[in-house]
């Protein structure tokens, strides 16, 4: 799929003869090379999970968070360049608070996704800006229902039942498709996401990783928060057990 865009890839304001903007595609490669991020929408909420590859043994566990709360009811998991991701999260937070100041109610997730997508897209329109090198999975639970959106570096935003970005996205998506999401509760979803992330992690190529998970569901009172410690531990051990089972086969 990847081709050299010699000459047509120097600026984000240049199209290639076959109608592609190479700079945006290169930005997407930055996302593809990062740790896997998974998001699923269960019947009572949304679960986000990140395979956070650890740079060095000296790093404190829990630092370099990849999942951020954007508002009480929604959160974002970032894949790709972390600094770019921080900028997108800041913008999303600002959009959410400004909407609430003007309209007096929490921003509907659909509107938030649309605004974030517009912002990401904005940076693909000018030669003096570069596209964001990160993709974002946005999960939220507003007055309608839980919703999951993914925003790519091109500015495209789609709504999903389940999706993944990063290194192990192909394998992760295959696993997600096997799940019966409409019948699953978030508690079960947390365990499934943990299994998927442990499953797609490549022990040979990558160093160790930390599993970071969050949810917004009925059980969390529709607030976006880190998955509670005990459930996280339960999920981790279930995932490790599933791995051993697979190895044993």
């Amino acid at each position: 799929m990847s081709s050299i865009g010699t000459g047509y890839d120097l600026s984000v304001t240049t199209f290639s003869p076959d109608g592609r903007v190479f700079q945006i595609e290169y930005a997407a490669k930055a996302v593809d090379n990062s740790g896997t991020v998974v998001g699923i929408k269960c019947k009572d909420g949304v679960v986000l999970g990140v395979e956070k590859l650890i740079g060095s043994k000296m790093m404190l566990p829990g630092s370099n968070r990849r999942i951020h709360s954007v508002h009480r009811h929604s959160g974002m998991a970032v894949a790709g360049l972390a600094a770019d991701g921080r900028q997108i999260v800041a913008r999303a937070k600002s959009e959410a608070t400004s909407y609430e100041s003007t309209y007096g109610e929490p921003i509907p997730v659909k509107e938030l996704a649309s605004r974030v997508a517009s912002y990401v897209h904005l940076c693909t329109l000018y030669w003096w800006l570069r596209p964001f090198g990160c993709g974002v999975i946005l999960g939220g639970y507003d007055r309608d229902e839980p919703q999951l959106y993914m925003i790519e570096p091109s500015g495209i935003s789609y709504r999903y039942f389940g999706t993944a970005i990063g290194k192990g996205r192909q394998a992760a998506k295959t696993e997600i498709e096997k799940l019966k999401l409409s019948e699953m509760s978030c508690r079960q979803g947390v365990i499934e996401v943990a299994k998927i992330i442990y499953g797609v992690h490549d022990e040979a190529k990558d160093k160790s990783f930390e599993l970071e998970m969050s949810w917004v569901c009925d059980e969390s009172n529709r607030q976006h928060q880190k998955v509670p410690e005990d459930l996280l531990e339960e999920a981790k051990s279930a995932a490790k057990a599933a791995l051993e089972e697979m190895d044993a086969d």
Partner: protein, 225 residues
């Protein structure tokens, strides 16, 4: 002289909202308009009774514009809370220049019927019922004892009509006909109660046709023969 207030009231019943207002706009002693419609529509599901003063008309124009854009952006009808918040932002941020008390009432699919009162300073207050206008002074005690939650639509409509008629009886700046608007999940219904169809109180005279009608038969008589 500024047009003075008439009377308006809103009532939240089980399933929607009823708004009622009189129809008199007066400038001093002169009745500038005896058949005005004081209830303006902000959107398909949200209405705004106001006092025909420039301040409230201006606010209603701005809010209608913002709400329209918001509805298009959202892809679904706006909620009453959003309309109330937009009104409140204008009222609060321009409190030095504006002098108007406002009520926003409507129905949306999330909260059902809702009424928000926005008095002079720009506070927002969600209320089960709200009254405003010069004639409303005479209705505070009435509503305190007559209001109860869980009324049906017919009961609520009768109550607001009774209330406006009481205000008309006592307040010189209130009069004319009574217009009501009911908003619920099915939409907006407007009703009209002319002078001879509302209750009369304690020695109020019955309405009768204008003497002018009795004088002219087909064409008006020339004043100078």
């Amino acid at each position: 002289m500024d047009p003075s207030a008439g009377d308006m009231n809103n009532y939240n019943y089980n399933g929607g909202v009823v708004l009622a207002a009189d129809s008199r706009t007066s400038t001093g002693m002169y009745v500038a308009n005896r058949a005005s419609d004081k209830i303006t529509q902000l959107t398909d599901n949200i209405l705004f009774p106001h006092l025909q003063a420039a301040d409230s008309q201006l606010i209603s124009d701005y809010v209608r514009y913002f709400l329209h854009q918001h509805t298009i952006q959202l892809g679904q009808p706006a909620t009453v809370k959003v309309a109330a918040n937009l009104v409140r932002l204008l009222a609060y941020n321009n409190k030095n220049m504006l002098q108007t008390g406002l009520i926003v009432g409507g129905w949306d699919k999330y909260e059902g019927g809702k009424i928000y009162g926005i008095p002079l300073g720009g506070t927002v207050l969600e209320q089960p019922f709200a009254i405003g206008g010069s004639g409303s002074s005479y209705l505070y005690g009435f509503f305190d004892q007559a209001w109860k939650g869980g009324m049906s639509q017919e009961e609520a409509e009768k109550l607001v009509v009774k209330a406006v008629s009481l205000a008309i009886a006592r307040d010189g700046a209130s009069g004319g006909v009574i217009r009501t608007v009911t908003i619920n999940s099915e939409g907006v219904t407007r009703k009209f109660y002319p002078g001879d169809e509302h209750p009369l109180w304690h020695e109020e005279l019955e309405a009768h046709d204008s003497l002018l009608d009795k004088l002219s038969t087909t064409s008006p008589e020339p004043m100078v023969s």
